[in-house]
C-alpha cells in the first residue's frame, strides 16, 4: 500500500511517497514554496509519483505537515511538524532521544521517550534568529549563495562574535562588521556559532543523547559541528535532513492503518 507525506514548509515543499508494505521510500522531491501552496504541493506530488511509476489513485492516505499543512486540501490528515520530525527520525535512527530541527522560519528541539514518542519540545517564539531565514539574510549581505555559506565559513578558524540575538539587529551588526573590513568568512562562521548558541540554549542543560539534526539547515556544512560544540555532545545529521518531516508524515500515514 502506498502512502504520501507532504511537508509544506515556509521555504520549500517536500514530498515523500512510501510503500507501506515494504516500508520503503518509493520516491521523494523538493520544490520552492510559492503563493498557491496547495497547487504547488499537488504538482510536486504528481511529479514524485511519476518518478515512482505511480498515480494519485494508488495512494491510500496522505498526511500533511509543516506550517502550510492546513492549505493542503487533498491531504486526509494534518499532523504538526513536531510529531512528524520525531516519527521521521525514529524511522531512520531508532535510538534517537533528541531531535533538533532547524527549518526556514523556526527551530525546535524535541525530546523523545525510549519508545520514540515525543515527551516534550521547545520551539522558538516570535523570533527568526536561529532559523534558516537568518542564514538567508546573512548570505544576501555577504553576497554569496546560500549553499556556499558553509564552505565560506569553513575558511576560517576565527569566527567573529555576533552578539545581536535578533535577525534584524544582527544584520545591522554584520553591515558594521563589513564596513570595518572583517573578512566575510569570519562573519559567516560567527553566524553559525551564534545560531548554534541559540539552539543550545533552547535545548537546555540536560540533553539526552543520541541527538539527531534535521531540517533544511542541517544541509549547510559546518552548522552541525557548531551545534555539537555548543551543546557539548556529538550530533548526527539525519539522512536527507530536509525530507525528515515529509518522511515522518508518510510513516504516520501508514501507521494510521
Amino acid at each position: 500500500m502506498i502512502f504520501a507525506g507532504i511537508d509544506a514548509g515556509s521555504r520549500t515543499v517536500k514530498v515523500v511517497v512510501l510503500d507501506g508494505t515494504r516500508r520503503k521510500v518509493v520516491a521523494s522531491g523538493v520544490a520552492d514554496q510559492g503563493v498557491r501552496q496547495a497547487d504547488l504541493a499537488g504538482r510536486l506530488l504528481d511529479k514524485v509519483l511519476k518518478k515512482g511509476g505511480l498515480r494519485r489513485k494508488d495512494i491510500r492516505r496522505i498526511v500533511a505537515t509543516g506550517y502550510g499543512r492546513d492549505a493542503i486540501s487533498f491531504a486526509g490528515t494534518t499532523i504538526t511538524e513536531i510529531t512528524c520530525h520525531a516519527a521521521g527520525v525514529r524511522e531512520q535512527d531508532c535510538d534517537a532521544r533528541t531531535v533538533i530541527d532547524i527549518g526556514g522560519q523556526d527551530s525546535k528541539v524535541m525530546r523523545l521517550d525510549a519508545d520514540g514518542a515525543v515527551r516534550d519540545f521547545v520551539m522558538n517564539d516570535r523570533c527568526a534568529a536561529g532559523t534558516g531565514r537568518f542564514l538567508e539574510v546573512v548570505a544576501e549581505r555577504l553576497r554569496v549563495r546560500l549553499d556556499h555559506l558553509g564552505a565560506l565559513s569553513g575558511r576560517t578558524r576565527n569566527p567573529v562574535p555576533i552578539n545581536s540575538t535578533c535577525v534584524v539587529f544582527a544584520e545591522t551588526e554584520i553591515v558594521g562588521l563589513l564596513a570595518s573590513g572583517t573578512a566575510p568568512a569570519r562573519i559567516a562562521a560567527g553566524v553559525q556559532v551564534a545560531m548554534a548558541a541559540r539552539v543550545a540554549v533552547m535545548a537546555g542543560r540536560n540533553v539526552t543523547t543520541p541527538i539527531v539534526f534535521t531540517g533544511g539547515v542541517a544541509m549547510v556544512p559546518g552548522i552541525a559541528r557548531a551545534l555539537a560544540r555548543a551543546i557539548g555532545h556529538p550530533i548526527r545529521t539525519a539522512e536527507q535532513p530536509q525530507l525528515t518531516g515529509a518522511l515522518g508524515a508518510a510513516i504516520l500515514a501508514a501507521a494510521g492503518e
Partner: protein
C-alpha cells in the same frame, strides 16, 4: 413542555448576560455615582476591594486587554514592556477607558516594576495612591508592613471620600466579597467534572470588572443551577484537559485561550489572576480584627513577584489533583520578568507530576497565532501519543 430552543436559551442565559459585561458595569458605576458612590480604579488582585467598598467606593479593574491602546502608550513607555501595562496606560493616555475617566482615585501597587514606574507617569494626570507590597510572604515584618499599608490606604480613602471606614462596614464588604468569591469558585468547580459543561473561554467571560454587582451575583447563582449537564460541541470528552497558568488574561486579550480551545483543548483550570488565584481563599469573616483578616487574605496571593513563591507551586499541585488536567500551558506576556523566570519552576513541577508543559510567550498582536497553534496542537499530539510510529 418548553421547546428545545427555549431550554437552550435558558441554559445559556448567564453566558449571554456576561456578554454585556462592560455595559452592565457602566450602568452600575453611573447609578452608584448618582447615589454618592465613588469609582476607584485598580489593576491588581492585591488591591483590597473590601476597604474601597467600605469607604463607599466602587472598585473597577482597569487592566487593559486592547492592542489598539498600545501605540499611544509606546510614545512614553518602552516597547519591550508587558502589553497589559502598555494597554492599561494607553487607555489612560487616550482617555478612552470610561471607568478610568470616572475614577476619583487609582489605587496602585508595587506588584511589578513595570507597573510601578507606569503609575508614576499616570500620576502626572490623575490621583494615584501607591501601596507598597512587601515581597517576602513568609516574613512577619513583611506582613506587619502590609497591614500598615492597608491602614494608610484606609486613611487616604477616608480623607478623600469624607467617610469613616467602620468595622461593620468592613464586615459587610467582607461578607459580600466572600459570597462572590464562593459563587465564582463553585462555577470554576464545574470544570472538575469528567464532562465539563462550559469552555474555559466561557468561564473566563463570566465575571465582571466590578465586583459584587447584585445582578451578577444572581446570574452566578442561576448559572450554577442551569449549566450542569450542558453539552459542549465538540464533545468535552474528546478534548485534551488543559491547566492554564501564568499571567492574567484581561478582557479583550483572550486570544490564546481561544487558540487552545480551537485546537482540541479544553481549559479546565485557570490558575492565574483572572481565574482561581484570587478567589481560592476568602477573608476570615469571624476574625476579631477585619483589617488584619483582609491583609492576611491578600498577602497570601501567590503572585510571581513574591519570593519565594512556593505557595503558587503548592496551589498548582492541588489544582492538578482536583481538576485532573492532561497538560499544563503557561502564558507569559512579553517582558513579564517575574512570571518568565518563575516558569522554570512551573515547568519542573509539571515534569514531576508527569504532565507535558508548554510555555507561550506572546503579546496582544495576533501575528504569532499560527505558531502558537502549531505548538498547542503538537502538545495535544504528545498528550494523546496516538501518533506513535
Amino acid at each position: 413542555m418548553r421547546s428545545q430552543r427555549s431550554q437552550r436559551h435558558a441554559v445559556d442565559g448567564p453566558l449571554v448576560w456576561f456578554g454585556g459585561m462592560v455595559e452592565h458595569c457602566l450602568d452600575h458605576a453611573r447609578a452608584r455615582i448618582k447615589r454618592g458612590g465613588h469609582v476607584v480604579g485598580m489593576a491588581c488582585e492585591y488591591t483590597p476591594r473590601e476597604l474601597i467598598m467600605a469607604a463607599g467606593g466602587v472598585p473597577v479593574c482597569l487592566c487593559g486587554g486592547d492592542a489598539d491602546m498600545i501605540p499611544a502608550a509606546e510614545e512614553m513607555l518602552p516597547s519591550n514592556l508587558c502589553p497589559l501595562i502598555k494597554s492599561t496606560f494607553g487607555y489612560s493616555v487616550r482617555r478612552e477607558n470610561p471607568f478610568l475617566e470616572m475614577a476619583e482615585l487609582v489605587v496602585a501597587e508595587t506588584t511589578c516594576d513595570g507597573k510601578k514606574k507606569m503609575y508614576e507617569l499616570m500620576a502626572e494626570s490623575r490621583p494615584v495612591h501607591v501601596m507598597e507590597l512587601p515581597q517576602k510572604p513568609g516574613d512577619q515584618d513583611a506582613m506587619r508592613h502590609w497591614v500598615r499599608e492597608l491602614h494608610k490606604l484606609k486613611e487616604v480613602l477616608e480623607e478623600r471620600f469624607k467617610k469613616r471606614i467602620t468595622g461593620s462596614g468592613l464586615r459587610k464588604a467582607i461578607a459580600l466579597m466572600n459570597r462572590e468569591r464562593g459563587l465564582r469558585r463553585d462555577l470554576a468547580g464545574l470544570m472538575k467534572a469528567e464532562v465539563p459543561p462550559i469552555t474555559g473561554l466561557e468561564l473566563l467571560g463570566m465575571k465582571s470588572i466590578i465586583s459584587c454587582i447584585p445582578s451578577d451575583l444572581a446570574q452566578y447563582r442561576r448559572a450554577l443551577k442551569v449549566l450542569p449537564g450542558r453539552i459542549l460541541k465538540p464533545s468535552a470528552r474528546s478534548r485534551t484537559r488543559v491547566l492554564l497558568t501564568g499571567v492574567p488574561i484581561p478582557h479583550g486579550a483572550e486570544r490564546v485561550v481561544g487558540l487552545i480551545e480551537n485546537s482540541g483543548g479544553l481549559v479546565v483550570c485557570q490558575e492565574n489572576c483572572t481565574g482561581l488565584k484570587p478567589i481560592l481563599e476568602d477573608v476570615d469573616a469571624a476574625a476579631p480584627d477585619p483589617m488584619l483578616a483582609i491583609a492576611g487574605k491578600y498577602f497570601h496571593l501567590p503572585c510571581s513577584v513574591m519570593t519565594r513563591n512556593d505557595r503558587r507551586l503548592d496551589s498548582l499541585h492541588e489544582l492538578v489533583r482536583d481538576f485532573r488536567p492532561q497538560c499544563v500551558v503557561e502564558v507569559i506576556w512579553q517582558a513579564c520578568l517575574t512570571y518568565d523566570v518563575e516558569s522554570f519552576r512551573v515547568k519542573r513541577l509539571a515534569g514531576e507530576l508527569g504532565l507535558p508543559y508548554l510555555r507561550i510567550e506572546t503579546d496582544y498582536s495576533p501575528s504569532d497565532s499560527a505558531r502558537i497553534e502549531t505548538r498547542v496542537q503538537a502538545l495535544f499530539e504528545t498528550v494523546r501519543g496516538r501518533y506513535k510510529s
